[in-house]
Amino acid sequence: MVSLIKIEWTRLLKNKKNLMILGLLLALVLLLSFYNKKLNDGIVLRRNNMYELSVTYSMMERDAIAREYTDTLEGVDPETFDGIYPEENQKRQDYWTRDITFTNKQWVAFRRDGWLDEAKATLDKDRNMKEGLEQGLIRERNSQVRDIRTLQELDNRIRLNEYLVEHGIVPLKTEYEPMAYPYLFYLLGTVFPLALPLVVCLVCGDCFAAEVEEGSIKSWMLVPVRRWGIYYAKLAANFLFIFLSLAVVLGTGFLTAGLFHGFGAADYPVSVFYDVGHLNMAATVPEAAGVTVDYLPVAKAIWQMLLLDGLFTLFLTVLVVSLGSFIRQANTATTVLPLLFTAPAMLLLLAEPGKRSGLVSRIPLCYGYTYDILKAYGRDEVYLMAMAEAVIIALVFIVTKVAVKRKDWIC
């Protein structure tokens, strides 16, 4: 059996098509790290401009308010209002002005030098803001801070900044920052749900059909082993090949991003949006308001995603190799199977987080968003899906084994 696995391994390794597919994936992963850098810089620039504008607007508003009060009561110091108005009014002024500048200010990452002081200051302001909102001290004319969604968002932000300050982690400017850890997380969450089924189908889909077309399958069929031994050998070699190839691609992407853009913090927080079943790198502003958010270290999230992706790779390889063994034309295998297995991933990518429902909401488990489900729906859901995968694998094994033994199978 081991020698048959080695034979199939050699075939996979020397197959031009396979090398081309993996080469393209590697190139995509390398290029994306530089594209993300460009994207990140663009977003930061845009947010900086918005911040500058909002600060100017805020100051103008503040002056207008000050003028309003000074018109009413003479002798007021427009900078402090101290000693003239009751304390309650003073608080209102403070919360209101801070809110306007703060929301936009949060869009811009803290400066790398002195980020800790800024984070602490922001944390203080946020806590004040939260208190003001809870006590109803914020004036109603400020529409941005009057509903519960904003309170939730504020709470999420406070916990994020607490996490950053507590762990001494420099915050990301945006979620696209191409440092090694966030980049690996980005690849697993956005590129791999589509790339994984595509690569598995294109590499493994024709592992029998191409040999049937070429005639080389007869060499396999004459080897004195049981028929399903041939199937198992091919399956094992294909799984190992896919698994190691993807590991090399991910590893190269991780190292390249690390060498060019820095590795970043392994315990950088990942936001887990429970209510919509979604994960994202926590940048300075949570991406969705009004949902329960938790934070977990990125390295832990990556590790668990890799484990579940490994299981899914096995699941997918078993399905693709088994179905592929009944197809006699290589072209059919490499067109029908990718369409079949990437369709759910396409659906998933098209569906907005939070708008997935029914079956679509279960697809993430199989297509790289496994951790989303784990956090969003609880562990039972994951075990249920893992069991479903195991049952499907067992069924496919049984059907293939019977077919392999009793039918003409591939010839």
């Binding site: 005639g215 080389s216 007869k218 004195p224 049981r226 003409d408």
Partner: protein, 296 residues
């Protein structure tokens, strides 16, 4: 001892019966020709024998092992080239041989010997996709030989081979047969089967129509001579020769390869005024024509 026993095997493709209850056997150490017209079911039979296809009914035993129940034991005795050489076109000749070397646990020195035997040492690093048909055939044969089987199955092994390739192949099969390897040889070239085979199995429309031991090689010759009767008299002194007077100047005779020189010595004497001697096909060709007259 029979190395191959096929009993009442049938096989249908989409309700069309292509093999219809065939039974035949191959004795150990024999070279058996498997002969039939195109579409008779030769390759399908060989695929059934090697378990590439599974029969609808009947049983196949190789070296006493049922191919369906004890596949690994049965196939441990078999290697061959079925239909065309099973090669990976993107891999080199060397890598293709490595397939068999690994699958059958053979040593590298075994591989070197086979490379030398098939005469492809110069092309071992080339991709087999660039090989000529003859080179592919040689490599396929090499792969079968590397497995060192007791039972060698060759389906149209002379396809694409040049004259020297055919001569080498013939010598190789004879050598293997002497070493005790059983060979089942399917070929359209009857003269090749005629030269090599000990027995012949004829198949037509998925049925075995004749299974018989080959008589010693007996070719038909036409002798034109002034004294044809004299020639006839001389040939009558050879025990296994069959001679017939066609007309006053022509004698038709059949003689085994071993007696051919003797026949020539007796016939080619001045007094008989021999003008011409022509070879007229083999006995197998005549048998073939008799059996497959409708197809012809």
């Amino acid at each position: 001892m029979k190395i191959l026993e096929v009993e009442h095997v049938t096989k249908s493709f989409r309700k069309k019966k292509v093999i219809d209850g065939i039974s035949f056997s191959v004795g150990e150490g024999k070279v058996v020709g498997f002969v039939g017209p195109n579409g008779a079911g030769k390759t399908t039979t060989l695929k059934l024998v090697t378990n590439i296809l599974i029969p609808d009914s009947g049983s196949i035993h190789i070296a006493g092992f049922n191919i369906l129940k004890e596949r690994e034991k049965a196939l441990a005795n078999v290697a061959g080239v079925i239909e065309n050489p099973a090669l990976y076109m993107e891999l080199s000749g060397y890598d293709n041989l490595r397939f068999i070397q690994r699958a059958y646990g053979k040593s590298k020195s075994d591989m070197e010997q086979v490379i030398e035997m098939i005469g492809l040492g110069h092309a071992m690093r080339q991709k087999t996709g660039r090989y000529s048909l003859g080179m592919k055939q040689r490599l396929g044969l090499g792969m079968a030989l590397l497995a060192d089987p007791k039972f060698l199955i060759l389906d149209e092994p002379t396809n694409g081979l040049d004259a020297s390739g055919i001569i080498e192949l013939r010598a190789l099969i004879c050598r293997k047969a002497k070493e005790g390897t059983t060979v089942l040889l399917s070929s359209h070239i009857l003269s090749e089967v005629d030269r090599i085979a000990d027995e012949v199995v004829f198949i037509k429309d998925g049925k075995i129509v004749e299974e018989s031991a080959m008589p010693p090689l007996r070719k038909k010759y036409l002798v034109k001579a002034g004294d044809a009767k004299g020639v006839l008299g001389q040939l009558a002194s050879i025990r296994d020769a069959e001679a017939v007077l066609v007309n006053d100047t022509t004698v038709e005779f059949r003689v085994g390869a071993g007696d051919f020189a003797k026949a020539m010595r007796l016939v080619c004497q001045e007094e008989y005024q021999v003008q011409d001697i022509q070879q007229e096909g083999t006995q197998l060709e005549h048998v073939y024509q008799d059996i497959f007259r409708e197809d012809a």
